[in-house]
Symmetry: C2
Subunit: 396 residues, 2 copies
């Protein structure tokens, strides 16, 4: 076989390279690195004993059917539980409108498959979640970035972008956004809904962190502001266990029918053994108690990091003020490139993600994403202090 000039690959994958974050995360696996780079939930808080009990129980209760092929849409009881949970947000979701996916990531892939033709304009947050960019990029989407401010999306930019492009999808993480940690204000949400309602676009509310609130008040879900044009994503990865790879999509029937076809072609159905265990866990335990513990801890960690940054980082440092989730977003002096900073920091065993990785539009090179859920309090304090010293050498 002569393979010297032949490129067998599909156009969609030729220009895609492994993500920079993936490379960073490989480096930070070394145990002597203090890492603010990942987006992992703290594994000390996994309900491991309870899940152990749940998994024993499903073996006893389900019999051999536990291990058989299952249906594409996902476990009916688990979907009923999800529908019921949304009632707390005054959302009335039909079980038929819920599909279990392999985490939110597969939800993004399935949506890409169902909606995106090459060069379709897709509005994304700038900066925004890399996993969504990665999923949609493989369907050759054309990204239109709309800047994210402290109170949410830039409405003027959104208006302009919507009026000059027929965007098929708008991708938004309104609660504790990745990477910035900000939440859209109530006014911002309403203004967005008003603009989107004038169009035929669908808004994807990706909500993996929605239940991880440690301060402030819950805001409106786009599913209530814009019910006919919202596709809602959820995940058990941040609240219970990422290893299960279980999330979900809520979408109206005409979209759900296509998603089910795409899901079937993608992997028939999500791991039904883990779905059964998860449902058993949710039956036998008080999820609100668990979330309370989680959020208390993450709130503390965020405060420790914030306090350390205010104490040690240069005075002109700017910081977002997350009310939940896993990330702080930090803007240094405009002269500082956080990519250069990263290269020095990693030599001193400190890792974070340089902000420029997250931009599709205008890049701010002086920004960085800091995760506070992974490291313990002592490591946060030490890591921030050491990082501050390195920043000061770069500021001179």
């Amino acid at each position: 076989m002569n393979t010297s000039h032949y490129n067998p690959f599909a156009e969609r994958i030729n220009n895609v390279t492994p993500s920079f974050i993936r490379e960073i995360l490989q480096v930070t696996k070394q145990s002597d690195v203090i890492s603010f780079a990942g987006g992992l939930p703290n594994e000390q808080l996994f309900p491991i004993e309870q899940l152990k009990k749940s998994s024993q129980k499903v073996f006893e209760n389900y019999g051999s059917q536990l291990l058989q092929y299952s249906n594409t849409e996902g476990d009916l009881q688990l979907r009923q539980w999800i529908a019921k949970r949304y009632k707390r947000q005054n959302l009335h979701i039909n079980v038929e409108d819920i599909l279990i996916s392999n985490g939110s990531q597969q939800a993004l892939d399935l949506l890409g498959k169902v909606f995106i033709n090459k060069n379709d304009p897709i509005i994304v947050e700038n900066p925004g979640y890399l996993g969504a960019l990665q999923a949609f990029r493989l369907y050759q989407a054309k990204f239109l970035g709309v800047d994210i401010h402290d109170n949410g999306m830039d409405i003027t930019q959104l208006q302009q972008t919507l009026s000059s492009n027929k965007a098929k999808l708008i991708y938004a993480v309104p609660n504790f956004q990745n990477p910035t940690g900000i939440s859209y204000s109530e006014e911002n949400r309403q203004a967005i809904a008003l603009e989107v309602a004038k169009t035929e676009s669908y808004l994807i509310q990706d909500d993996p962190y929605g239940e991880l609130r440690f301060s402030g008040e819950q805001k409106s879900n786009f599913m209530s502001l814009l019910p006919q044009q919202t596709i809602l994503l959820g995940s058990f990865s941040k609240t219970i266990a990422p290893a299960f790879r279980l999330g979900w999509i809520v979408a109206p029937q005409e979209i759900m029918k296509k998603l089910v076809i795409a899901k079937q072609a993608a992997d028939l159905h999500s791991n039904s053994f883990s779905q059964a265990i998860l449902y058993q866990y949710l039956q036998d335990n008080n999820i609100d108690e668990h979330l309370k513990k989680l959020n208390h801890y993450y709130g503390q960690q965020k405060n420790i990091m914030e306090t350390a940054i205010k104490q040690y980082f240069p005075q002109n440092t700017k910081l977002t003020n997350p009310e939940g989730g896993l990330f702080l977003w930090c803007s240094l002096d405009k002269k500082i490139s956080t990519l250069e900073l990263f290269k020095t920091a990693i030599k001193h065993n400190i890792a974070f993600v340089p902000g420029e990785s997250f931009y599709t539009g205008k890049i701010e090179k002086n920004t960085m994403r800091l995760n506070y859920s992974g490291a313990d309090s002592f490591a946060i304090e030490k890591g921030i202090k050491d990082l501050a010293k390195i920043i000061k050498t770069k500021s001179n």
Copy 2:
């Protein structure tokens, strides 16, 4: 929002409809139906007690890391086990060349994503596995069917198709093919390898049933006949437990790099909790003993079905003679449409899959796929006898 004329969906999904088989399987879930329609392993043979023990053990051994995010390629130990297992076929597979996927189905989806541009010619078996067609169809492949005979692919057709089309991929299930149950002879494999070696095509050997042999001799793997052009797929769904959704892809590094990018965008990684349990099970149990039991049972079931068909079906019925796997392929008198037969049979609570569902090329309407792994011996005997009566009413 005015949705009256707007079609928001991607071109790739617009003409795809839910599979007919899926609809059949919905009907056959009613417990009074004797179903030869599915392709499910017999759940009475799942090693449920052993997996229960393995799942307890991983909770004790792994600690909280068991539930954390994991790596895209899959559990290293599980991949090492797979590599080692291939040594029994004299295949030397590098662990780096193995990616864990959500069953073979996701492997097909990832391969479609990495290789297939719209209208790319893909050679498929005629008749062939619907799941592959479904996965590749969503990447808008152009299917070129090559007929399957009792000893494998039609070599003349393969030659002609390869010489008049630059087929990117050749999809083959050489062991106990779905739907026909036939295996490619050694000569046929060598002839195929010779033809493919003249081209730049990749041959996908999908091998979910390879370990389910109850008679005859193992034949060469394409990975040994055509190492640089073979992509090999495997699955634990038929041997251990479908609910885990665990399979794998073996591919050379230049392809593997693209597959890893596609897998990461698709769902980050496969369920790592189930990977740990599966590896534990493989450590603590003799898989060969388990497969021996499985194959003894399936061999018996196949014999019972074959005997009943020879006894009750019309004399001009033709039958394949599978040496393993889950399916028999039955050709009735050319005047009989099995689709019409199905409509009558289901009213009498007997289900099978009409053969025409599986064809991409020339259709033989008098064929049907019969699964012998799901029903018990008594049900097989009764179902075939009843089906024979219905066939006789159609023959008159």
